[in-house]
Subunit: 92 residues, 2 copies
């Protein structure tokens, strides 16, 4: 495997799993008031469109990484809706 | 321009600018205690490796979108370091 491929795979893994620590933190603390729901709405739009792009081009790495990202970011948005209003100073 | 290209461009714009509302929210409220620093560390690792991948392949759309993402996510990490400790219940 060439170096560019290894870098691409590592980059894909990191950007795919990035939401996991945020989900764990929100789940444990039952608090999301400082987390922007708009960030996750825009991310979901982006990664779901990347998934569609992957399906149209039959590009499996794009479908799998962005499909997982869509699920993770949707999970985080649900947690924001559930816990975001608690102890809120601003809901922007 | 074909439909797949339009979808790819929209997907790229959304995933690139997603951090902006989070930066604005953190900046306005001067609070990040619910935001996971690990999410942004992993994101920075991912998008900076995508930038390197783009440079190695001389792929300008990948360089530009991920270069902007790297700057935005680094900005957010600075805000977390600056404001994340205030009124902290957990710093995970």
């Amino acid at each position: 495997m060439v170096l560019t491929e290894i870098i691409g795979i590592l980059a894909g893994i990191f950007t795919t799993i990035a939401a996991v620590p945020q989900i764990v933190k929100a789940w444990r603390n039952k608090a999301c008031k400082d987390v922007s729901p708009f960030m996750f709405v825009i991310l979901i739009l982006g990664v779901s469109l990347w998934t569609v792009y992957g399906i149209m081009n039959q590009d499996w790495p794009i479908i799998i990484t962005n499909g997982i990202s869509t699920i993770l970011n949707c999970t985080m948005l649900v947690l924001i809706i559930k816990y975001g209003k608690q102890n809120t100073t601003s809901n922007r």
